[in-house]
C-alpha cells in the first residue's frame, strides 16, 4: 500500500472553503507583507480526509496490533480518557483564565497531584514537565539547586548505571553536570562496589531506574540509598518502569528523593506517534522548595495556582503555561477509573504477563539475559547465539515479527546486552495474544534455521521493506521540493 504525498493532490485554487471566513483584506504595511504564498496543499476536504485516513492505515498501533515495546508501556489507552478530557469546557479553557472560572479544572489537577503523591510516597508533586526527559531535567535541576542552596558547590557529578536510558546522561549534561558511569553485575543488579568507588565529595546524586531497564528489581536498593545519602548525594528515580511496581512498593520508601513519572506509560495517556508525553515530578521533603512552577494549591475550598511568590526557590517554569494539561486530564480520568485496587492490579498482571512470556520463551529454547531472576513487567531475550550460529540477529527477528502482525519489541537497548529484545507485554494483553507472539517467535527461529536469508530479508508484507538509513543521512531529503 502506498499513498502519494499530499502535495501531489494539490491543484491551484482548490480549497476547503467552508473552513474559513470570507474576511476583508488585512491591513499590513508593505514592508511587513508576505510577497509569495507558502506552498501548502490546495485540496478539498475529502481529499485531505482520505489522504490522512490512508496514512493512518500504514501504522501499527496499540488499537490495531500487539505492541510489546520494552520500556515504553504500550498498554490500552481507554477511550473514555480521551472523551472526558475533550469536553468542550476543558478544550475551550484558556490557560491564563482567572482561577474563579477554573475551579473544576484545578480540582482535577489538585487531586491528580495528591494521587501521584500517594502512589510514589513523595511529599510534593509538580505536573508541569511536558515529557519524561523534561521531568528528568527538572529532577536533576532540583538536585543541583538543593546543593547550591546549601553552598555545596562542588557537587556536580551524577552517577548513572550503564543500563540507563540515554536520556539520563544527556539530562545530566544539560544540567551542567558530569556523568560517572558504573557497571551492572552479571545478575543484573548494580555493582555496589563500583558505586562505593564512584561516591565522594563531588557526588550530586545518582539516577536509577528500579526495576532497571534490564527487567529486574534492584534488590540492594536500601543499601544503595544509604551509601548515596551518607556520601551527601541524592537519589533520582527514573519512573520509566513505574508500571511494574504500582501499588506494590513506593519509590519514596526505597529512599528516593525525587522521581519523574511518565504519565504516557504508567497512566495510559496516548503515545500519539511520539508524543505528547507528560513527565510529572515528585519530591521528598528536602526538595520541596525547588519544585518547578506552577503547582495547584488549596486555600480552604478554593484552588489556586502557586507561583514564584509562593515558592521563591523554585527552579522556575518549564513551559509557557502549565504543561500538557490535556494529557494530565486523561491520566486523572484513568486513575479514577482504576481506583486503589485497580492500580495494584496493573503491576500484578503486568508482572504475570511478562513472567509467563519469559517462561514460555525459555521453554521454547530462547536465552534469557538474566536467567534465574524474576521478570519485572518486562524481560530481555538475547539472540547472541542465533546471531553467531545462524547469522540472524535481533533486528532480523524484529523485522520478521512485523510480518507476523506484531510490533517488534525494543531492540539493541539496553546497550550492554548483545542482540537483545526487550519485551514488555503490559497488563492489558490477553493470554491468547501472548501465546500467538510466542508461536511467532518459535516459527521465526525454525525459519532462521532452515532459510536464514528469508528472515534477513524481512519484512515482506509492510508498506515498505527495509529502508536505506545510510542514504537518508547522507543524501538529506527533509522537505518536499515542487517540480
Amino acid at each position: 500500500m502506498h499513498e502519494p504525498l499530499i502535495f501531489t493532490h494539490s491543484r491551484t485554487g482548490r480549497s476547503a472553503a467552508g473552513q474559513y471566513p470570507q474576511a476583508a483584506a488585512a491591513e499590513v504595511p508593505e514592508k511587513f507583507r508576505r510577497k509569495k504564498r507558502a506552498e501548502l496543499p490546495e485540496v478539498s476536504e475529502l481529499q485531505a480526509v482520505r489522504h490522512f485516513t490512508r496514512l493512518s492505515q500504514l501504522n501499527f498501533s496499540i488499537d490495531t496490533h500487539f505492541y510489546p515495546l520494552g520500556s515504553c508501556t504500550m498498554k490500552y489507552n481507554p477511550r473514555a480518557c480521551n472523551q472526558f478530557a475533550m469536553l468542550p469546557e476543558f478544550l475551550g479553557r484558556h490557560p491564563l483564565a482567572p482561577d474563579s472560572v477554573s475551579q473544576g479544572f484545578l480540582a482535577c489537577m489538585f487531586e491528580l497531584q495528591e494521587m501521584l503523591k500517594e502512589v510514589t510516597g513523595m511529599k510534593g508533586v509538580s505536573l508541569t514537565p511536558m515529557a519524561g526527559a523534561q521531568g528528568e531535567f527538572a529532577g536533576v535541576a532540583m538536585i543541583r539547586a538543593y546543593h547550591k542552596a546549601r553552598g555545596d558547590l562542588d557537587r556536580t557529578e551524577i552517577i548513572v548505571p550503564d543500563a540507563a536510558h540515554g536520556t539520563n546522561p544527556a539530562t545530566a549534561t544539560m544540567c551542567g553536570c558530569t556523568v560517572v558511569e558504573i557497571p551492572s553485575l552479571p545478575n543484573g543488579d548494580t555493582d555496589v562496589e563500583a558505586l562505593k568507588q564512584a561516591l565522594g565529595p563531588r557526588t550530586a546524586g545518582i539516577m536509577l531506574t528500579n526495576p532497571s531497564t534490564l527487567g529486574v528489581f534492584e534488590r540492594r536498593i536500601q543499601e544503595i540509598a544509604k551509601l548515596v545519602h551518607d556520601a551527601g548525594g541524592l537519589l533520582y528515580y527514573d519512573g520509566a518502569n513505574l508500571n511494574a511496581i504500582l501499588g506494590k512498593v513506593r519509590p519514596g520508601t526505597m529512599g528516593f528523593d525525587v522521581i519523574h513519572m511518565n504519565l504516557h506509560k504508567t497512566f495510559s495517556t496516548p503515545h500519539g506517534g511520539g508524543g505528547p508525553g507528560s513527565g510529572a515530578v515528585g519530591v521528598g521533603e528536602r526538595l520541596l522548595p525547588f519544585l518547578p512552577i506552577p503547582i495547584v494549591g488549596r486555600d480552604g475550598d478554593r484552588y489556586r495556582w502557586l507561583d514564584a511568590q509562593d515558592l521563591p526557590q523554585t527552579i522556575g517554569r518549564l513551559s509557557a503555561f502549565m504543561g500538557n494539561a490535556g494529557v494530565l486530564l486523561r491520566a486523572y480520568v484513568y486513575m479514577r477509573m482504576l481506583g486503589r485496587a485497580g492500580m495494584q492490579r496493573v503491576a500484578e498482571y503486568a508482572a504475570l504477563n511478562a513472567n509467563y512470556m519469559l517462561a514460555r520463551l525459555q521453554q521454547a529454547g530462547f536465552d534469557a539475559a538474566y536467567p534465574g531472576r524474576r521478570a519485572s513487567h518486562e524481560f530481555i531475550i538475547t539472540l547472541k547465539r542465533q546471531a553467531k550460529q545462524l547469522g540472524v540477529n535481533a533486528m532480523d527477528f524484529a523485522k520478521r515479527l512485523l510480518d507476523h502482525g506484531f510490533h517488534a519489541p525494543t531492540t539493541y537497548f539496553p546497550l550492554l546486552v548483545p542482540e537483545c529484545l526487550l519485551i514488555e507485554p503490559t497488563e492489558t494483553e490477553a493470554k491468547e495474544e501472548l501465546d500467538a507472539f510466542i508461536e511467532a517467535m518459535i516459527a521465526i527461529q525454525r525459519e532462521a534455521e532452515q532459510d536464514a536469508a528469508k528472515v534477513k530479508g524481512a519484512p515482506y508484507t509492510l508498506p515498505v521493506r527495509r529502508l536505506d538509513d545510510v542514504r537518508a543521512a547522507k543524501q538529506l531529503d527533509l522537505t518536499y521540493q515542487r517540480g
Partner: protein, 452 residues
C-alpha cells in the same frame, strides 16, 4: 477487572507455566520491608458512567466564558475533520516510529509537516517538533551556542517585548549551561525594539539576537533592520513567530538581507484547542548549514531494498539514545499527535484559508480596540501596525477589572502590569476570527458597566 482481560483459568495456567504459586510470588525479589499492602489514599474505582458524570460536573463548573485572552494561546476555529482523524487509534495509540516499516503513516505525515513548516517560514529544514513555543526558544538558544562556533560569549540579546514567560522558561532550561541573557528595553512610544538599544552592543561578542514577530504586545517589529544588525555584528538571529501570522507577514527566511538563522514558535494556532495550556507543540526550522545542531526528531525520505520511496528517522547521531551525554538535547518525544492536528489543519485551510483567518483576526481585533477605546477610562497604548493583539491602558487596577468581568462571563485579557509596571494599568486583548461583532459589543457593554 477494568482493562485487564485475564480469567481465573488464564491466571492458573500462566502461573503453572511460570512455576509460581501465586501472583504475589512474582514480587518476591522486592525486600519485604518495602512492600505495601494497599493504596489507602486513592479513592475506590468509578465506572465509566460515574467518571463521565464527575468530569461533566467539573467541566460545567468552569463553563464557557467569552474569551478575549491571547498572550501566546489563541482560540481559532478547528475543522471537525482534524480531531476526527487525529483520534483514530492508528495515530493516537502508536509510538515513536522506531520501526519505520510499521510507521510509514506517521513518518510520511511528519515529512509533509516539515515541508509545510519550512515553506511557511521560508527556511530550508524543519524538525518534527518540540514540546511548546517557550521550550523551543530555550532549545534555539542552546542550538545557537553550538552552531556559532566563533562566538565564545554564549550571550543572547532578548528584547523586553518578547513573551516574558518564554524568557523565564529559556532561563530555567539553560540554567546549568552558563548562557547570559541581556534584556533590551523597548522604545517607549512605539512598544517595539529600536536599533539604538542594539547599538549599545556594537562590536561585542554576541551569540544570538532574539526577536519576536509580532511581539508580545501584538506589534510588528522592524525585523529587517534587526536581522541586518545581527548579521553585521556576527550574531545569529533567532525568530519567534506566530505561525498563523506568516500567512500575511514576511517570513523569517526573508528578513533583512540574509534571513533568520533559527525560527521557533508555538504551533497551537494550527488545529490545537486552548485546552488549559497544552498539549501544544513547538516548531523549529533552520538553515541547512545548521541542521546537525538542531535538536529533536528529524524525518528523511529515502528508498527501501526494492528502490521504493519511504520515510525514516534520520540524523539520529545527534540524539540521546545514540550519543548519550554528548547529545544535542535530552529530548526524545516530539508532540506527534499535535503535529498530526496541525498538518491536517494546514492541509484543509491552505495558504488562502490561513490568510483569511489571519486577516479576520486582525480585523476583529481592530473592531475590538475601536469598541473598547470608546469607553471612558480606556485608551490604546501603542498606535503602530499590529497583528491580532493590542495593549489597552485602563484608569484602574487591571486585576480588579478582570475579576469583575469574569463574574459576568468574560475572560477579558492579560494583565501586563506585573511584568511591565512601566506600562501602568495595561491590559493585552485579542480577538480572533471566532469573535463576532456581537461578542465584541457584549464585551464593550460589560466593560463600560464595570468601569462606570
Amino acid at each position: 477487572m477494568p482493562f485487564i482481560p485475564h480469567t481465573e483459568t488464564d491466571v492458573r495456567e500462566m502461573l503453572a507455566a511460570i512455576g509460581a504459586p501465586s501472583i504475589d510470588a512474582l514480587f518476591e525479589e522486592i525486600p519485604a520491608a518495602l512492600r505495601i499492602k494497599s493504596l489507602d489514599g486513592i479513592p475506590e474505582a468509578l465506572t465509566e458512567m460515574e467518571t463521565g458524570r464527575l468530569m461533566q460536573q467539573r467541566a460545567s463548573r468552569d463553563g464557557r466564558p467569552l474569551n478575549f485572552l491571547g498572550a501566546g494561546a489563541y482560540e481559532h476555529h478547528i475543522p471537525a475533520a482534524v480531531w476526527a482523524i487525529v483520534t483514530r487509534g492508528e495515530f493516537y495509540s502508536a509510538y515513536t516510529p522506531y520501526q519505520a516499516e510499521a510507521s510509514q503513516g506517521t513518518l510520511q505525515l511528519l515529512y509533509e509537516y516539515q515541508s509545510m513548516m519550512a515553506s511557511l517560514t521560508a527556511m530550508q529544514v524543519s524538525n518534527a517538533s518540540l514540546y511548546d513555543g517557550a521550550s523551543a526558544l530555550a532549545e534555539a538558544c542552546l542550538m545557537a551556542v553550538r552552531a556559532h562556533r566563533k562566538s565564545k560569549s554564549a550571550r543572547i540579546l532578548v528584547p523586553a517585548a518578547v513573551n516574558p514567560t518564554y524568557l523565564e522558561v529559556a532561563r530555567a532550561i539553560t540554567e546549568g549551561q552558563n548562557l547570559k541573557f541581556d534584556v533590551l528595553p523597548y522604545d517607549a512610544p512605539s512598544g517595539t525594539l529600536g536599533t539604538s538599544s542594539l547599538d549599545a552592543y556594537k562590536g561585542q561578542d554576541i551569540t544570538a539576537v532574539v526577536v519576536q514577530q509580532p511581539n508580545f504586545f501584538g506589534l510588528l517589529e522592524d525585523v529587517d533592520a534587526i536581522t541586518d544588525w545581527a548579521a553585521a555584528n556576527n550574531a545569529l538571529l533567532i525568530a519567534v513567530v506566530n505561525p498563523l501570522s506568516l500567512a500575511l507577514l514576511k517570513p523569517p527566511g526573508e528578513w533583512g538581507t540574509k534571513g533568520a538563522d533559527i525560527v521557533v514558535g508555538d504551533g497551537q494556532p494550527f488545529g490545537v484547542p486552548l485546552s488549559s495550556g497544552g498539549p501544544y507543540f513547538g516548531f523549529m526550522t533552520t538553515k541547512l548549514e545548521h541542521v546537525r545542531q538542531m535538536p529533536g526528531r528529524i524525518i528523511g525520505r529515502t528508498v527501501d531494498l526494492d528502490g521504493k520511496p519511504g520515510f525514516t528517522l534520520t540524523l539520529q547521531a545527534r540524539e540521546q539514545h545514540i550519543r548519550r551525554s554528548k547529545a544535542t538535547s535530552n529530548i526524545c518525544t516530539n508532540q506527534g499527535l499535535l503535529v498530526t492536528a496541525a498538518t491536517i489543519h494546514m492541509s484543509l485551510l491552505g495558504s488562502a484559508g490561513l490568510e483569511k483567518v489571519a486577516a479576520a483576526s486582525q480585523t476583529q481585533t481592530s473592531a475590538l480596540v475601536a469598541a473598547l477605546t470608546r469607553i471612558k477610562g480606556v485608551k490604546l497604548a501603542f498606535s503602530g501596525p499590529r497583528f491580532h493583539e493590542a495593549v489597552l491602558q485602563l484608569d484602574r487596577k487591571v486585576s480588579d477589572v478582570l475579576d469583575a468581568l469574569a463574574k459576568r462571563g468574560i475572560v477579558g485579557g492579560y494583565d501586563l502590569s506585573r511584568q511591565y509596571p512601566d506600562l501602568g494599568n495595561a491590559l493585552l486583548v485579542c480577538a480572533t476570527e471566532t469573535r463576532t461583532d456581537e461578542d465584541i459589543a457584549q464585551y464593550a457593554k460589560i466593560l463600560g458597566e464595570v468601569l462606570k
